[in-house]
């Protein structure tokens, strides 16, 4: 088995294969980063819709709460299938990348809403009162009072959350999005040994995820110290 790997390695790490894997890597990164960022935007909106001091009017609160609580309870694969077939059956022309991106955004929004909520809840009530007494509007309170203080609660978990979506995007290979896992499957079907294909891809995932997570943990410790 090892001789086979050693024999295949030069061919496996040839120029075109590396280009192929590189392209897949870029797709994985784009999918998870764009998805996590846009998802955080929506999650933030959900969080401020749930907060009684901001836009927490009852109907908005119910919708936001239902979304956040229910979407976190559906597995990524099932969500992916729902979005995939919804696009297909509605006749909308969308690339597979878009389908996967929409799924990442849908689930990221639900998880980000919880992170943003923790940030909002870290601000004690007297500060909201003080901002109100100063005649600050909602957005101004958010920007001038809440944001400068809650970023240290919100920022560190965002790294772990992004890593979670880098890992989840591997499931997007199921509908044929050209990302790392799908690349490994294709290289495997081209006849390269499974150890080489999946081993390389595992290592690549590790090399993206580990530094991100590590950085998040260090940031958490640094922000907690102040």
């Amino acid at each position: 088995m090892w001789e086979q790997v050693v024999e295949e390695a030069p061919r496996f790490f040839g120029y075109y294969n590396l280009l192929f894997i590189g392209e897949a890597l870029v797709n994985t990164l784009l999918l998870s980063w764009i998805g996590a960022t846009v998802g955080f935007g929506f999650g933030f909106l959900f969080a401020i819709c749930r907060h009684p001091r901001l836009f927490g009017v009852l109907p908005l609160r119910i919708v936001a709460t239902l979304y956040v609580e229910l979407f976190r309870r559906i597995p990524f694969l099932v969500k992916l299938m729902c979005v995939f077939f919804a696009f297909q059956l509605s006749g909308a022309q969308a690339s597979l990348f878009t389908v996967a991106l929409v799924t990442v955004v849908l689930s990221a929004a639900a998880f980000a809403a919880e992170i943003a909520r923790a940030g909002l809840e870290s601000i004690p009530a007297p500060q909201w009162d003080a901002a109100e007494a100063m005649n600050f509007g909602r957005w101004r309170t958010l920007w001038r009072v809440v944001a400068p203080q809650s970023f240290r609660i919100v920022l560190p978990p965002l790294f772990g959350y992004t890593v979670g979506f880098i890992k989840s995007t591997s499931i997007a290979s199921q509908i044929g999005v050209m990302e790392l896992t799908y690349a490994a499957k294709i290289l495997n079907t081209r006849g390269f040994s499974a150890l080489l294909c999946f081993g390389t891809i595992l290592l690549l995932y590790f090399l993206i995820c580990w530094p991100t997570k590590h950085f998040g943990e260090r940031l958490e410790r640094r922000l907690a110290r102040r």
């Binding site: 309870r73 597995p75 077939f85 509605s90 890992k167 595992l202």
Partner: protein
Amino acid sequence: MSYTVIYSQVTGHIPYLLAGAWLTLQLACISFFIGWGIGLVNAAVLAYGPRPARMAVRAYVTFFINTPLLVQIFFIFFVLPDMGILLSPYAAVAIGMSLNAGAYLTEIQRAGFSSLRRAEMDAAAAMGFSLVQTIWYVVLPHIAKALYPPLANQFIIQVMTTSIAAIFAVEELTGRAYNVNALTFRALEVFSITAVIYIVLTIVCSLALALLGRWLFRVNAKVF
């Protein structure tokens, strides 16, 4: 192109799907309890083991936490046969999920054990407790309280992750949804029903675990 949503063609298959949910729970339980065992041993090694063993455990945890479960299972399913170990899809998924859960549960339990303070042990010693009494009356209640909520949370995560087994043709809930889809071609209906079953299943599990925690350890585990 317009598509009419017709649920009536799928509703007949709901019992079949629910039977798949049973397999989902089974797989979640297996991987959770094996992972729990792995986590316990690892947490003990991290606390008392020699340096090389600690480093090995850390390497295992970091590696499994930072790579996707799907690729881990692909690795187990496609690479081990080359080494002469032939696994059924069910076994491959169960092993992959257990190893993955083991890494997370190591982290959880390490944090739980380190929440035990020196002063509590000293207090127990000052009260003249024997070792068994200390463990039974001081250590266990504390650790149970600290560990129960994250452990319950991990179980719910396990229930949702089992959907990955469908990719390896294991006929759990999602796998059966694929089957029903192939039979009826009512994709949107099938997968939306599956999503609802997952929501109900995890809520029921959360509720049961919260009640169990309250009854056994007086923990206020939250459901939502």
